[in-house]
């Protein structure tokens, strides 16, 4: 059981990071369906950089830049050129998938240096790791995981407790009201779409650099789509997305634990996606925690 929970966290981290990224993107009024693409960009950039430089910090930086770079394409299209967000996001996913396969074709079978794997070795946090059940699960992990916890907490505080967070939400809800209040809409949108992309890139890099750690083609295998559903499941709340991500992380690895029951691997592989569909179908929205109202609508000030 302990081992399962421990693994559920590890499987949940890429989901958590991507969900956080998509949450702040959507809070800015932008539905970016390119999560899968940006994760793959981050994964391949992180792995390749880690492989050639042997520096974990550079690998993470490269993943952040790659994810943000993908988001920049999307941002230019949808913020400045006011293109359709759904189409632009899908295009980004297709681009990211193709680009990562192309760049990664020479990376298959290669191994990261010892320096890298050492850096991401689990570290037990004194005292906290001694707590029964959750101590082992939460506090005997690698630095990347701890960094993700921190990000999750900080993004929640940013959204709900700061003036910038309030302004950001105003843009996603009603850009013309935000504009009339003097909030610089375009700047906010770019910053948060790029940040969102960076977080997706990080999520991808966790997969390729820490979790696997090897390069496989299409290494994310649909996790980006689950993250998009998780944003809805967790009601655009960064703190709730922590629990959502672990739940879905657990679902994605439950197959290994159930092998003895002789259930078809294909059925088990379907589990997270089935639950996603169920959650989307059953999930009720009320006004207070529903989607940002102006999401996926372009904003023109002089529109008559």
């Amino acid at each position: 059981m302990n081992a399962f929970l421990h693994a559920a966290i590890i499987a949940g981290i890429p989901l958590l990071l991507a969900t956080l990224g998509e949450t702040i993107t959507e809070k800015a009024g932008h539905l970016n369906l390119g999560v899968e693409g940006m994760m793959l960009l981050g994964a391949v950039a992180g792995f390749a950089t880690g492989l050639y430089t042997g520096s974990p910090v550079l690998a993470i930086l490269a993943a952040i830049l790659a994810g943000a770079g993908g988001a920049l394409i999307y941002g230019i299209l949808t913020i400045s050129m006011r293109a359709n967000q759904v189409v632009s996001g899908l295009a980004l996913t297709i681009f990211g998938t193709g680009f990562s396969s192309y760049m990664g074709s020479g990376l298959i079978g290669q191994k990261l240096s010892e320096q890298m794997t050492d850096f991401f070795r689990p570290v037990a946090i004194p005292l906290l790791s001694g707590i029964p059940l959750i101590g082992d699960m939460l506090f005997r992990q690698d630095v990347f995981v701890y960094f993700s916890y921190l990000l999750c907490i900080l993004i929640g505080i940013y959204l709900f407790k700061t003036n910038m967070g309030l302004n950001l939400q105003a843009i996603g809800e009603n850009p013309s009201a935000a504009d009339a209040s003097g909030i610089p809409i375009t700047r906010y949108k770019y910053i948060h779409v790029l940040l969102g992309g960076a977080l997706c890139g990080l999520g991808g890099a966790y997969l390729s650099v820490v979790q696997v750690p090897q390069w496989q083609e299409n290494i994310t295998s649909g996790r980006g789509w689950i993250a998009i559903a998780l944003v809805i499941f967790c009601k655009w709340n960064p703190w709730k997305s922590f629990f959502g991500a672990i739940l879905f992380g657990g679902l994605s690895i439950v197959g290994f634990r159930l092998q003895q029951f002789n259930i078809s691997q294909h059925i088990l592989d379907m589990l997270p996606y089935l639950v996603t569909i169920l959650v989307l179908a059953i999930g009720r929205e009320n006004k207070k925690n529903s989607a940002p109202e102006a999401m996926s609508l372009p904003y023109f000030r002089e529109e008559r």
């Binding site: 003036n163 309030l166 939400q169 105003a170 009603n174 209040s181 003097g182 000030r301």
Partner: protein, 501 residues
């Protein structure tokens, strides 16, 4: 007196359409200045340039007697200019306080606890009642407006522009709004109120600037003018303001509604136990603040809205469960005018003939449409109703609002209905066009048509209608006689029968 804002020889066009030809305007501290004009006179465009939404093509703007360029709402706020738009600039999900604070604070963390006191003090200063911790989406329209005003005041506005602020308020809410405006003026603010309601101009303003077709006609001192003079300036010719209410012989009951009920998607009752009768040769007015069930009632009568209980009978025959086509064939016509005039009634990109065909094609025989005979019908309509259009083949959407309205009502009348339902038939129309519509309605009334007139201007309803039914929250609060009705009484019913002051 200090001059707060001055606009000189402003010109602004959108593509080929000139919205402001040559407008000059001046606002002093401590005054309430009405900006009066028909639709399309350029009132809102002018004020949108003052609040940074639009840029003028030429002309100059002076704030505190210094020339300025206002490139964005943010710059307008810095200059102390705030605008209350017709659609409030509020985030529905936020609380009142969050709406007021957004975009204003430079501290990193939200300081709600400290700032709420600051906002409350401001509200007390101007006697604005508002619950700052309430979410906007749970508020009434009047409350939302108060929040929007408070927000603009919090931003430090000294120049306040209000774009048709009374359009959606009950008479009681209008009175408290006027009181707030007077308080603000007393504090030294300059207030611009955009309106086309003359009685409001007379009641609230100190001075009034009349615009006509994008140009300033004149600025007058309100106390030295009267409604007649203002109308003549606004329309550009002498007009008769009186709406007639011709006496007719009441005939049989045509339409009878008993205990009508309907529920919406969210399972909330939108029509509750509605009963009324409509006789030949009568105009029954429906008054109520927006969203009281007018739309649902109309659509239920036309067979477009599912009814959950009660009975609608037309000449003794039940209409429940009949399709719109069957209802039209029975002789009931509805001309419903939603907010976007071209939404439900007409197809904008089609010409008059095709729009006419939409309602007449099923009467034609054969496989193909015959347009030729209809040209004559449409040309007659143009003459009879004085529709301003190059010809019958001109797309409807390019006509002015009043003319689109005439086409819509003309088409409905052409089918010789026994019941005519009009909803907001004069919404957004100027005085002249509105009067043509009233005349058309009276003409039909004298022909013995039973008319249900859903309106928003209480003064018009009281002058035009024989009886007035007041809706509140899907319920009939009362049916009063049009000739003896008292405005305050109706206002009280519109507000759900509660006393405000």
């Amino acid at each position: 007196m200090t001059i707060l804002a001055e606009m000189r020889n402003i010109k602004k066009s959108f593509g080929d359409v000139i919205a402001n030809r040559d407008v000059s305007f001046e606002l002093r501290a401590g005054e309430i200045h009405a900006l009066l004009g028909e639709n399309g006179a350029g009132k809102s465009t002018l004020m949108n340039m003052l609040s940074g939404i639009y840029q003028p093509d030429s002309g100059s703007i002076l704030i505190h007697e210094k020339p300025v360029t206002i490139r964005s709402p943010k710059e307008a706020i810095k200059l102390g200019i705030g605008m209350i738009h017709q659609h409030y600039k509020l985030v529905e999900k936020f609380t009142a306080l969050e709406n007021i604070l957004m975009g204003q604070e430079s501290s990193f963390f939200l300081r709600k606890k400290e700032l709420i006191q600051k906002v409350e003090k401001l509200a007390r200063n101007y006697h604005i009642a508002a619950d700052l911790n309430k979410s906007i989406y749970t508020m009434s329209i009047g409350e939302k407006q108060s929040v929007d005003i408070l927000k603009v005041l919090y931003q430090g506005a000294k120049i306040l522009i209000m774009d048709e602020p009374t359009a959606v308020l009950t008479p009681q809410e209008i009175q408290s709004l006027f009181q707030v405006m007077r308080n603000m003026a007393a504090e030294g603010c300059g207030i611009v109120i955009i309106t086309h309601k003359l009685n409001e101009v007379m009641e609230i303003s100190d001075r009034v600037t009349v615009l006509q077709k994008g140009s300033t006609v004149k600025t007058l001192i309100t106390a030295e003018t009267n409604q007649k003079e203002l109308t003549d300036l606004m329309v550009g010719k002498a007009t008769d303001l009186q709406i007639e209410r011709p006496k007719t012989q009441l005939g049989k009951v045509v339409l009878k509604v008993e205990h009508l009920e309907a529920i919406n998607k969210d399972k909330a009752k939108v029509l509750k136990d509605i009963s009324f009768e409509l006789r030949e040769g009568e105009v029954l007015g429906v008054a109520g603040v927006a969203g009281s069930g007018q739309k649902e009632l109309c659509e239920a009568l036309a067979g477009l809205y599912p009814v959950s209980g009660g009975q609608i009978t037309f000449h003794g025959e039940s209409l429940i469960g009949k399709s719109p086509a069957e209802i039209i064939n029975a002789g009931m016509t509805m001309s419903f005018v939603p907010e976007d005039r071209l939404g439900m009634g007409l197809v904008g990109s089609m010409d008059m003939i095709d729009n006419y065909l939409l309602k007449a094609h099923h009467k034609q025989k054969g496989l193909f449409l015959k347009r030729k005979p209809l040209e004559k019908v449409c040309e007659n309509m143009i003459k009879a109703l004085d529709i301003q259009t190059p010809d019958v083949h001109y797309p409807i959407s390019k006509l002015s609002g009043g003319n689109i309205q005439k086409v819509l009502i003309g088409r409905e009348i052409e089918t010789e209905p026994q019941v005519l339902i009009t909803a907001y038939a004069v919404r957004g129309l100027d005085v002249g066009s509105a009067h043509t519509i009233y005349e058309l309605i009276n003409e039909q009334k004298q022909k013995g048509v039973a008319i249900l007139f859903i309106g928003e201007d209480l003064d018009v309803i009281m002058e035009l209608c024989d009886r007035i039914m007041v809706l509140y929250d899907g319920e009939v609060k009362g049916i009063v006689n049009g000739e003896t009705a008292v405005k305050e009484e109706i206002g009280l019913l519109m507000g759900g029968g509660k006393l405000y002051a």
